[in-house]
Structure formats: C-alpha cells, structure tokens
C-alpha cells in the first residue's frame, strides 16, 4: 500500500513535470541577447514609464526624430522639418516610405491621434506633461478642454504642424521620447486599451513584437516594412528580464547575453579586472540626491542649516570609497554633459573639504545649533545595500564634522515614496532623478513650485520667474543664461543635496559592433551588429 502510494506520487510528479514543454524556437540568423532589469509596465507608449520600457519601445517604435549611435539627434519618422522664427510653430514632413509593421503607411494623422491620446487624462499617461507646452495641452491634461483642442494638426497626409504656447528649444529631443511615438489607430479601435500585446501590437520601429512572457523574455524580430530596414543588421532581439544583477552577470559570463542592463554594485574592481574591454562605464544624465522636507521643521526656512549639512558631506570619499564605479561627485543639480549648458556649481565647490567643514560648523552655529543645542535628524532611504552604505557614511560625516546625530530609517521603496510625497514625517530623504531629454530643463523644471516631482516642496518665486523667462526665450544663448541663473538660485537655497551623478554600466560582448556610450544611455538595437564569426553567444 505505502510503496504503491509513493510510486503513484512519483509517477504523478513525473507526469506533471514532463507535460507540454515548449517546442524549441526556430533558429534565427542573428539574434541579439540583451538583459533588462525589469518587465516594462506596458508596451503601450502612453502607459509605459520605466527606463526599461523605454529601452524596448525604442526598438519597436519610432518618433518624429531619433538618436544616432552616439546620441546625436537624427531624422526619424519625419525626414525634414521647419521651425518658425518665433519658435512656436514646427512643421514636420513624414517620410513617404514610413510604414507600420503591417505595411500601412505612417501618416501625419497617426501622430495627431497619438499626441491627443497622450494628453488625454483618460489615458492616464505618466508622461502627459512632457508636451505640456503645446497649445492647450495643460488645459487638456487638467481635464478642462477636450483632447481635440490640442495644438497639433495635419496639413496633408504627410505634413504635421505642432503649435506651442511658448518656445521649447528642446522640442526636437522630446520627440524622440517613446511617449511621443505613434500608436496604430486601428489596433486601438479593435482591441481597446489592451492593444499593446503580441499579436495585436502594430508598431513603426525597426523591430516588431513577437512575444512577451512577463518575467522572462520579450522577443522582437525585424520589421521588414521599416523605412530603413536595409540598414538593420540584427534580425531578432531578445530582451531577457533578469531582476537579479548577479544572475545577469552569471548569464553574461556563461555567454547567454551580449549586453547587460547593469552590473552588480559590489566587487566593481574585480569586474574591471575580469572584463577590461567589455565593461562600459559612462556618464549618465541622472542625479542621486538627498532632499529636505521644506514644509516642516527643522529644515523649513532654514537655508543655513541645509547648507551646513550639504557642505559637511565629503562627496569625493563617497564616490571613490563608498560607491567607486566611476560616478562623479555632484556640486550642481543639472548633470554635466547636458547639451548647450554649463551647470552652475555650489560656491564652495572650489574649497577643500577642510575649508568646507570649517564653514559648515560656522553655519550650523549661526543656525542656532551647537554642543548645548545639538541637532538630531532623521534620514530615510529605500532598503538596499548601496543606499545603506551611503547613508552610513553620511551619518558619520555629519557626526564627525558637525556633531549632528542622524537616525537612519530604511523603508521599502514604495513606503519611502509615499512618505516623501506626503511630507508629513520626512526630514531628509534619499531620491534620484533621471533626465528625460538632453536639456537642462529636464532637471530644473521639476523644482518649479507645485511640480508633481518636486519632492522637497521647494517653492521659490525667484526661481520660478527665471524658469518662466527662460521658457519665453527663443534665443538659445539667452535662454541658457536664464536657466543657469535659475540653477544658481536653486543651489543657493539648498532644497536638495546632490551627492553624485550616476554612470551607466554595461557589459558589452566583444562580438557586438556599433556600441557607443552616451549620456542618455540609449542603445538602439538597430544600430548594433554582431561579429560574423560568432553570431550566437
């Protein structure tokens, strides 16, 4: 009886385990295997919001403009455009041979439809505000006007006009963002909001979506109708969803990936020795910062105190000893490498750390704190080894230099986000900002009063006025001066402590040709090719 039961159990296990393994896929000629840290939320360009979703969307879709391998703006679905003298009217000419993945022509109407859908509050697009300067966009986002009132119209089938309420000198770079990609109207009409799935998603990029197994892999293959298909070298792309950095590294080592999304934070020196030629580390338009809650004590109306804490942090020690992956110490808010811009720096950036410490102690005294009135603060960060190491280092710097006692509170990412936004319990909190486009505006504008991403609750009339004046400028030089002045005001107020600027980190197989590091960390699969000798990893 018992033996029979065990045997039955065994048999059942084997039967269950052996049923229905998928057939092996047909071997495609050249396949690029890329790592992806997390699943996209959606491949609907209007619903997507993560960096990873953008990575996949740039392979399957295309905006009016695009980026070259090295991060230069190049024509995309539009082959030419004109800008009016006042900088308010843009006329785009859609390529005659721009095609959807089903062979239909991409028309100006597709873009009008898609841009209206982007700003329609019913869509719930995280990037709706990206094109907030288009005529009527803000009123539509707020629900006060219907989407049809958006200042975007067709002249003929291949000509599109975008009207702006204020000049947006970086508009062309915005139009590379996946949120501005066109969506195929008929799919949407036929399948509703869930159209962005294998089998129903029609896209206009170099690749089309074949399959998506959430948590595992997204498979793309060449879109033969793509206008520049002749230049596409790689036939198929696999974006492997691998959340664990260590797993990704091991898969790279085992030869299963050509490109990793990132590398593990630890043992960076060892990685550099192991992969001297394959490890790519490059400046990235993203800042790691500690923010102050400016709406409550002790930091409300206390710029001197905030400055003292900022000055007492030895950023060089942080980037070289604590993180040590090539990050740059941050003395500005806007990341270096932004086009047409020279970031302002803290006025103490040129001092030595000892001099900064002396000044910081003086500022703390002036703010009313000292041995007889010691300052006790709380620092919140999201639970992770890297955040913890940085927080511990900052805690000890504040203690050693200023005698400030810091309580470290680690919270799950979602909890920290919630607390940051509520501004009820936070004092100092850890956050970051990744630039959406290559312009200083992407960093500065989130600090405008009332911006939903303005986590410290910074509100400065002077800063807002400078941003307004910059926005009204057509002349790029004058605009730049206003933006730089706005950054100077921002830095002097110390609503945030920028700690360092991120770097992008990839392992790129030596078989991959055409990889170029760039500050946006955009790497279109269509620009890459594989060495012919070893086309499969």
């Amino acid at each position: 009886m018992t033996i029979t039961r065990i045997a039955c159990l065994l048999l059942a296990c084997c039967v269950i385990a052996s049923c229905g393994d998928r057939e092996a896929s047909t071997g495609a000629p050249t396949v690029l295997h890329r790592g992806l840290n997390t699943d996209p939320e959606s491949l609907d360009p209007h619903k997507a919001r993560s960096v990873q979703a953008g990575e996949v969307l740039r392979d399957i879709g295309e905006g009016l403009l695009s980026y070259s391998e090295g991060g230069k703006l190049v024509p995309g679905s539009a082959d030419s455009w004109q800008v009016s003298d006042d900088g308010l009217t843009y006329t785009f000419h859609i390529r005659d041979n721009a095609r959807w993945s089903n062979g239909d022509a991409v028309t100006a109407l597709d873009f009008v439809f898609s841009l209206r859908r982007l700003v329609d509050p019913d869509t719930g697009a995280f990037y709706a505000q990206l094109l907030g300067e288009i005529v009527n966009a803000k009123a539509i986002i707020a629900g006060d006007l219907p989407p049809a009132e958006l200042g975007v119209e067709t002249v003929d089938e291949h000509t599109l006009v975008i009207r702006l309420a204020q000049p947006v000198p970086y508009l062309l770079s915005l139009l590379t963002n996946p949120a501005t990609f066109p969506v195929y109207r008929e799919s949407l009409a036929r399948h509703g909001d869930a159209f962005a799935r294998p089998g129903t998603l029609v896209s206009n990029g170099a690749y089309k979506l074949d399959s998506w197994e959430p948590g595992s892999v997204i498979e793309l293959s060449r879109n033969e109708y793509y206008w520049n298909d002749a230049a596409t070298a790689i036939d198929a792309v696999r974006h492997h969803v691998i959340t664990q950095e260590m797993t990704e590294l091991n898969r790279y080592r085992a030869g299963e990936l050509h490109v990793t999304d990132t590398v593990p934070p630890d043992n960076f020196a060892q990685l550099r020795d192991e992969f001297p030629e394959e490890l790519h580390v490059a400046p990235y338009l993203a800042v790691y910062y500690y923010g102050f809650n400016l709406t409550r004590p002790p930091f409300k109306d206390h710029p001197k105190l905030r400055q003292a804490l900022s000055m007492a942090i030895d950023r060089e020690v942080l980037v070289s000893n604590i993180i040590g992956r090539g990050e740059a110490a941050a003395y500005s808010w806007v990341a270096p490498g932004v086009a047409n811009y020279e970031p302002r720096r803290f006025n103490y950036a040129s001092l030595t750390q000892d001099e900064r410490n002396t000044n910081a102690r003086r500022l703390l005294r002036e703010a009313g704190y000292g041995p007889d009135n010691p300052l006790q603060i709380e620092l919140r960060y999201n639970t992770s080894d890297t955040q913890q190491r940085i927080a511990l280092a900052v805690q000890s710097m504040w203690r050693d230099v200023l005698g400030v006692e810091t309580t470290l509170i680690n919270e799950e990412f979602q909890v920290l986000m919630d607390n940051m936004r509520a501004r009820q319990v936070t004092q100092v909190f850890r956050s970051s900002w990744i630039g959406d486009y290559n312009d200083a505006h992407t960093f500065l504008n989130i600090m405008e009063t009332g911006n939903p991403s303005n986590m410290p609750g910074y509100a400065s009339a002077e800063f807002d006025a400078l941003m307004q004046r910059a926005a009204a400028q057509v002349d790029p030089q004058r605009r730049r001066l206003y933006l730089e002045e706005a950054e100077r005001v921002l830095l002097a107020d110390h609503p945030v402590i920028p700690l360092y600027f991120y770097v992008s980190k990839h392992l790129v197989s030596l078989d991959v040709i055409g990889w170029e590091d760039n500050v946006l960390n955009y790497h279109y699969s269509q620009h890459l090719s594989l060495a012919p000798a070893d086309a499969t990893p």
């Binding site: 159990l9 986002i141 869930a194 959430p214 948590g215 091991n250 299963e256 909890v415 911006n451 986590m455």
Partner: protein, 307 residues
Amino acid sequence: MLRYALLRLLGAIPTLLLVIVLAFLMVHAAPGGPFVDERGLPPAIEARLDEAYDLDKPLPEQLWRYMVRLAHGDFGPSFRYTDYTVSELIAGAFPLSLRLGAAAMALALVVGLAAGILAALRSNSLADRFVMTFAMTGISIPVFVFAPVLVLFLAVRLHWLPAGWSGNEGPARWILPIVSLALPQIAYIARLMRASMIDVLGSDFIRTARAQGLGTVAVVRYHALKPALLPVLSYMGPAVAAILTGSVVVEEVFGIPGLGQLFVRGALNRDYTLVLGIVIFYAVLVITLNLVVDILYGVIDPRIRRR
C-alpha cells in the same frame, strides 16, 4: 457520502471568504500605492487613474466591487502589467511552478530514499558518512546560496548547463532549478529514511525474515521498506510546503517566470489585484487539496463520514 462532501464544501466557503477579506485589507493597508513613482503625476491624471481602478472609493465599497467581480470569475486587470489581466498572468505562471515543484519532488523522493536506504544498510561505513555529510550540508546551506554556486560552477565555469531560463529552450534549463529546489528535500528525506530504516532493520520481524534465509534485497523490499516509509510519507505535507516557498527563491535566482516570482514582484509593486489574485488562487488550491484528501479519507474509512 455525497452529503459529507457537500458539508465539507460548504465549510470551505467561510474560510475562503475570510482569506479574501483579510488579504484585501492587508494589501490595501500597506503604505505606498501602485502609481507612486519618483515621477509625480499631474493631479487630474492621478484622479482618473484612481477612478479607473476604483481606488477613489471607500475601502468597503472597493471590497464589495472586488467581491462582485470575483463572483463572476474575474480577478481584474493587473495594476502593474497594464496590458494583462491577473487571470492571464496566473495562467501563464502556474504551470511552470507546478512542473518545477513536481519535478523537484520526484527527484527528492528518488534520490533521498535511495540514499537513505543505502546509508542505513551500510550504517557507519564510509558511504553512510558521505551521505550524512551531504545531507547535513544540504539542510544547512540555504537555496539562495547554493543555487548561485551551482550556476557558477556548472554553467559559468564548465558551460555544461545554461545559467538562466529565457532563451534556453529544452530540458537542460530545468536541471539546475530542479536540483536546487530538490536538494534540501533530498537531504531531509535521506536522513529520515536512514533513521527509520535502521530502526526497522533492528526489529524482531526483520531478524525472523533473515533467519528464514532471505537476502538483504528481499528483506528490504518485502519487509523493511513499507514500515520504514511511514515517517517519510507523513513528511510529504511539509515537503510540499517547503517546495512551494523554496520555488519563490529558485524562480528569482534562475529568472523563471513562475507564480513565486510573480507574487514577489506584485507585492513590491503594490499590484493589488495581482497579489490578491495569487493569494486567492493559492487559498483555493490548498482548500481544494485538503477537501479532496478529507473526502478520500471518507471513502477509505467509513468511520470518518459517519462522525
């Protein structure tokens, strides 16, 4: 008999309802929300999103609406994977977890029992020491340490097996996950089997069997095995539970898109509907299995159904 089954079925309903309500409240009590991000949302858009997902309504009303949809067999759309419904995600992930777990269980039984019997027969020999050392190691080293080490040697260094899941078709990609998941169970079962086999082999009826001139194989096969298996059999319940929880780790390490990985991701993303869907799915699974076992007991033992 039918009446007994029906009664048991009715008894399961309050349990399930309780699970749903508790899970719903706990998920919504967790701070943070599905649309909270470093990128803030314009208020009008956030309001529409909340409206679309019923988040603007009072909690009891949300619960009521959720229950009504559930009664229609609809788990709702995933908050995070907006292109998919929860039912689709579970339907895609569960078969993988099931197969992984079943294969690990089969492997654990075959290897564990064989090793245990061998160790018992040659007790205190070199083979026994080896098996027991191995078992001790297997129990002591957690899966999240052991699995990457396996990957490092067998996949990265020796290139014998694939390191990950996606993009590797065929049975080879199952080997490391199954072995990693089975290992602690192999160890446990081997120890259990050894102990109980040594116990049985020392009993009088085995001595009698030997005295009759039976060889070792026959003694084990016809006399010792059955009684020795009993402790292992009663360990099967905890073993299934251990494999279910272990699969969460193994799926993470190897990137297998199974239910465990989906659950962890859902919880971190505050994907309310997905987490609830998986909890309810597991609850139904456990309740059904218990029910089936109870009914089977009833079939076997008439005393139970008359109670």
